[in-house]
């Protein structure tokens, strides 16, 4: 089989559906990655227009352009859109598009999940966009502090759009994070050990693990605040045992890692592009990876620096001040590693490099002002002034947007397969770079002169007029620059000439394929023996197209790739990906029913949606697996591997582990909230405690242990060639007993509006109930699969997936129900 026939055969196997339908059924990372990127750029334009409205309003004192009601919506939505609907989705899009190619594989771990995440993002984002268009957008600031954002300050529907829309969008972040984690750990080219991984893959791995542990506190906070608004559960109302500070902790437990979640992928892009632009390799690969990991860890110890002025005790503030300054160290390691790389090589001033220089100038200033505001007494003066506005834009635009522009121009030839012909990009760079600094540099000064954030207009005579006028002019100059970039991209994508395959002379694998990339990426998978395979073997791509790598034979007619062992990169098993499917679109639409039901207070929609989710979820998982043991299969180059469903740790098991990491963080946040209210909220302890219920406790303990044991016995029965069905039904009964115990807690404290204590019990019990229901569903699903012959002596993996969910149920039931009953037992 020659290269062209292989290309045709693989293209047939991997092709998305033609035409309009293809948009809704594609699960290919090329398509979904580009859809993510284009959609996030659309939201960047919307957020940019809002920024222009802000600068138009503030250009002159006493402006009559908009009043406070509209202005409050504008700045709230500007921040919300830029953070949640632009930055994070853009990162997801770039990661989805690039990762399989960087790692030398053919797609992400769960192609349908990629698409599901995209549609959740579109639907959640549309909710927010709708609210903006009809003038009922959230208006309490992007951080949505209660009581202002709760029923006291915002009785309308505005805050609900934020809480529900953003939570809907967060589903896509969690989905992408789970699958990127598993992809980086398992879906790589054979031979690509962790130490040979492209540095961007390391950065993305750190980023997504941070998403898994950073986003759940916000998701929990949003759920709690929405429950307060919809049903009067008083988590943040001080007179009923709540505390508004709880929201601030949960929000910034997410909010500060969020800053690094945005910065790290950009730093990864710089670590990738900068050495190529300097015709050398990255200085201190190990140090840079260690710095990225250190940044990820440290960023979870900083959240309180957004709360210096909330009256946190002095010693606590000192600790967080130390942590906040310390985080500058790994950042400095990276910055100097990059400059050292430039010294080591021969840097060339091509367009991506120009953007990286823009990054250096801007980000260093933002970093230095960041160190300033980490100092508590200084922060107490500039907090909530334009000094902070200037600082955060230096960090986010300098540290994220500029590197992303470098990425755009660096990978554009990869996406379009064309050479940039019209050189509008350089002019656009100068307009944006200069426009940005004109906009924000002097805003530091008006902040020091006492100009607060979020005021819709200001009086003359305080020395603010000139700076604001200059700032507005700079803003419009930068906007023209962004417009020019858009024109540049479209023109060059449409009419420029065909380019060569690896225009920058880079060493990473994404350049070892035809451009624009085919749906299957690599015609055969490379075998990797160093960090920059293309530097040593520039014609690697040609050999791969000829089928010299793994899986070069498309005769099985399925979408196939390999999983490797995590550390060594040795091939482990063969994965068959699902085909095109409308399920992701349908499932996210049905999921939207829950959010719509909450938003419109049409609560009947919620149980209907849950039924729909269960039905589609079963349909989704049903299509995986095989109805007989297949045994090892040929994957090329003389190697045979078992299929995924016969592995001890199939992809579903790895995905469950990392989804449970996020889930456990959410549960941990919930327990943190419980303990926080108990110790800090003024109106505690509650008037009365939940009486311990020995019957329910025994039910939960026995049920949980039975479920955990029954899954293990089911796996053993399969191994010995027997049937697992009886054990799985027993596991379902055990999990059901746990659920009944959780319900007993709710029944015992029916009035969840009485005190934050009661409301918290309901949420804890609800959480246990949800996981009991999941375990029941999984056990019954597996029993049905076993009945139809989809489980066997070799195909025990699915049972092991169910088993860790049962294990997790036992843990959360013990901790959650224990935390509910113990105070009453001791009182």
């Amino acid at each position: 089989m020659n290269a062209l026939r292989r290309h045709r055969a693989l293209s047939r196997i991997w092709a998305s559906d033609p035409g309009f339908r293809g948009w809704f059924t594609t699960v290919n990372h090329n398509d979904v990655g580009r859809m993510f990127i284009v959609t996030s750029v659309f939201f960047f334009l919307v957020g940019g227009i809002l920024a222009m409205l802000i600068r138009a309003q503030l250009a002159t004192p006493r402006s009559a352009f908009v009043g406070p009601e509209i202005y409050n919506q504008i700045f709230t939505m500007h921040g919300t859109i830029m953070m949640f609907l632009f930055a994070i989705p853009l990162i997801e899009g770039v990661a989805i598009y690039l990762l399989p190619k960087l790692l030398g594989t053919r797609d992400l771990a769960y192609p349908r999940l990629t698409a599901f995440g995209y549609w959740c993002y579109v639907f959640g984002g549309s909710m927010l966009l709708f609210s903006l268009l009809v003038g009922i957008a959230p208006d309490s600031g992007w951080f949505l502090y209660p009581p202002l954002s709760s029923t006291l300050g915002q009785p309308g529907i505005n805050s609900d759009f934020w809480l529900l829309g953003i939570t809907f969008v967060e589903i896509s972040a969690i989905a992408a994070a789970v699958e990127i984690t598993v992809t980086v750990l398992r879906y790589r080219a054979p031979g690509m050990s962790l130490t040979r991984m492209p540095v961007l893959a390391w950065y993305l791995l750190v980023t997504v693990v941070m998403i898994l542990t950073g986003f759940p506190p916000l998701i929990l906070g949003s759920i709690l605040l929405e429950l307060e608004r919809a049903f009067g559960m008083p988590f943040f109302q001080v007179e009923h045992g709540g505390d508004s500070l709880l929201w601030q902790h949960l929000f910034w437990l997410f909010g500060h890692p969020e800053v690094y979640i945005i910065f790290l992928p950009a730093a990864g892009v710089i670590s990738t592009i900068l050495p190529v632009m300097a015709r050398t390799t990255l200085l201190g690969y190990g140090w840079v990876v260690a710095a990225a990991i250190a940044l990820g860890v440290l960023s979870f110890g900083l959240w309180v620096h957004h709360m210096y002025v909330t009256g946190i005790p002095h010693m606590g503030v000192a600790f967080f001040s130390a942590a906040s300054t310390l985080v500058a160290v790994p950042t400095a390691v990276q910055v100097f590693a990059w400059i050292g790389t430039l010294w080591k090589g021969q840097p060339q001033l091509r367009l991506p490099m120009l953007w990286i220089l823009g990054f250096f100038v801007t980000f260093v200033i933002g970093g230095l002002t960041g160190v300033m505001v980490a100092i508590v007494p200084f922060d107490a003066q500039v907090h909530d002034t334009y000094f902070i506005v200037a600082h955060l834009h230096y960090v986010l635009v300098g540290g994220f947007v500029f590197p992303m522009m470098a990425a755009l121009y660096y990978w554009l030839p990869h996406v379009t397969g064309r050479k940039r012909f019209f050189k509008l990009g350089e002019a656009a760079f100068w307009l944006i770079f200069l426009g940005f600094h004109v906009t924000f540099l002097a805003l530091h000064w008006v902040g020091l002169l006492g100009m607060r954030r979020r005021i819709y207009t200001f009086d003359s005579g305080q020395g603010w007029e000139l700076v604001n006028l200059i700032s507005s002019i700079g803003g419009f100059v930068a906007t023209i620059g962004f417009g020019l970039v858009l024109v540049d991209i479209i023109v060059n994508a449409v009419v420029a000439t065909r380019g060569v395959r690896n225009p920058w002379g880079a060493g990473t694998l994404e350049w070892a394929m035809p451009t624009p990339p085919p749906a299957y990426t690599f015609a055969s998978l490379p075998s990797v023996s160093e960090r920059d395979p293309l530097l040593k073997e520039p014609r690697l791509g040609v050999g791969l197209a000829k089928g010299e790598g793994f899986l070069g034979d498309p005769s099985r007619g399925r979408r196939e790739t390999l999983c490797v062992e995590t550390a060594s990169g040795r091939p482990a098993y063969l994965v068959t990906f699902p085909d095109n499917s409308a399920l992701p679109f349908a499932l996210s639409a049905v999921t939207g029913g829950i959010f719509l039901g909450m938003l419109l207070k049409a609560y009947w929609l919620i149980p209907l949606s849950i039924l729909g989710i269960v039905a589609l979820g079963v349909r989704w998982v049903w299509t995986t697996g095989a109805d007989r043991d297949r045994g090892p299969m040929d994957v090329g180059r003389g190697v045979s591997l078992i299929p995924a469903e016969e592995a001890e740790d199939p992809p579903g098991w790895w995905g469950s582990v990392f989804l449970l990491l996020a889930d456990a963080t959410l549960f941990g946040s919930l327990l943190f909230g419980y303990a926080f209210l108990w110790t800090v909220a003024p109106n505690w302890p509650p008037p009365s405690y939940l009486a311990p219920d020995p019957v329910a406790a025994v039910l939960a303990a026995v049920g949980g242990l039975v479920a955990v044991a029954a899954f293990r016995l089911a796996a053993r029965a399969l191994e010995q060639g027997g049937s697992a069905i009886g054990w799985l039904i027993l596991a379902a009964l055990g999990a059901g007993a746990v659920g009944a115990a959780a319900i007993s807690v709710m029944v015992a404290r029916p009035d969840f509006t009485a005190h934050a204590y009661d409301a918290t019990l309901w949420v804890i019990a609800g959480y246990v109930l949800l996981h009991a229901a999941l375990a029941v569903l999984m056990a019954l699903f597996l029993a049905a699969r076993g009945w139809l012959g989809f489980l066997g002596p070799r195909r025990r993996g699915p049972v092991r997936v169910g088993q860790i969910w049962a294990d997790y149920l036992l843990v959360v039931a013990a901790i959650g129900l224990g935390a509910a009953w113990l105070p009453g037992a001791f009182a």
């Binding site: 009581p147 300050g153 002025v309 390691v333 080591k344 230095l368 007494p377 200084f378 107490a380």
Partner: protein
């Protein structure tokens, strides 16, 4: 002009922070210029030794030296400076201490005086000049913040909590204050005034003389 300026301090707390700002600005500017010079120098024409053989020496210089040792030294000094200043600004017992209450609501401030029980003023806080004043800050509805930029940094008013801020005015006079935590549509006009009195006038105020509010 300059009524809300943090760089025109009129009290000890604000003065310390204003000095701090100039120190931070000078230090940051030097570091910024240093980094920019290193960056620019990378582009000079030269025949650099290529290859991993020299990388360990480079890592010592760029990563251990500039990346680790340099920021650790600077940051340790800075952190110590910040903590010492923070400690000095914290409310501590003082023989001349005056205590007042500040209760925010959408969108007014109600001030009370420990030395004159029952006395209330609205949107104007009276204090003695030259004496430390502890402001006990709270709120009846949403979160607000008490900020008199020329006297001291800000502190939030949180429902159900009382936060204490130490302020002091060097000279008698009027000082503008604003609420600096976003609080809804009326946020922009969340202003108040702090009037610092000479000792005699303060006694008169406490005795209820000459006040028509």
């Amino acid at each position: 002009m300059d009524t809300l300026s943090t760089v025109h301090p009129a009290g000890p707390a604000a003065a310390v922070v204003a000095v701090m700002w100039w120190v931070l600005l000078v230090g940051s500017t030097l570091i910024f210029l240093f980094v920019m010079i290193l960056l620019a120098a990378a582009f000079r024409q030269r025949s650099a030794p290529i290859g991993p053989a020299h990388d360990s020496g480079r890592e010592r210089l760029w990563i251990m030296g500039l990346g680790l040792a340099f920021p650790l030294t600077v940051l340790a000094a800075l952190l110590a400076y910040g903590l010492v200043v923070g400690e000095r600004l914290a409310p501590k017992p003082h023989p001349d201490l005056v205590t007042v209450g500040a209760e925010a609501s959408q969108w007014t401030w109600r001030f009370t005086y420990a030395d004159a029980p029952g006395r209330e003023t609205w949107n104007v806080l009276h204090i003695p000049a030259g004496r430390p004043v502890d402001v006990e800050i709270t709120t009846t509805d949403v979160i607000h913040a008490f900020w008199v930029p020329r006297l001291a940094g800000k502190l939030d008013a949180i429902p159900g909590h009382v936060n204490v801020l130490r302020i002091e005015a060097d000279e008698p006079g009027e000082y503008h204050g604003v609420s600096s935590e976003f609080s809804g549509p009326g946020y922009r006009n969340r202003r108040f005034l702090v009037v610092a009195h000479p000792a005699a006038d303060w006694t008169a105020f406490l005795n209820g003389e000459g006040m028509d509010e």
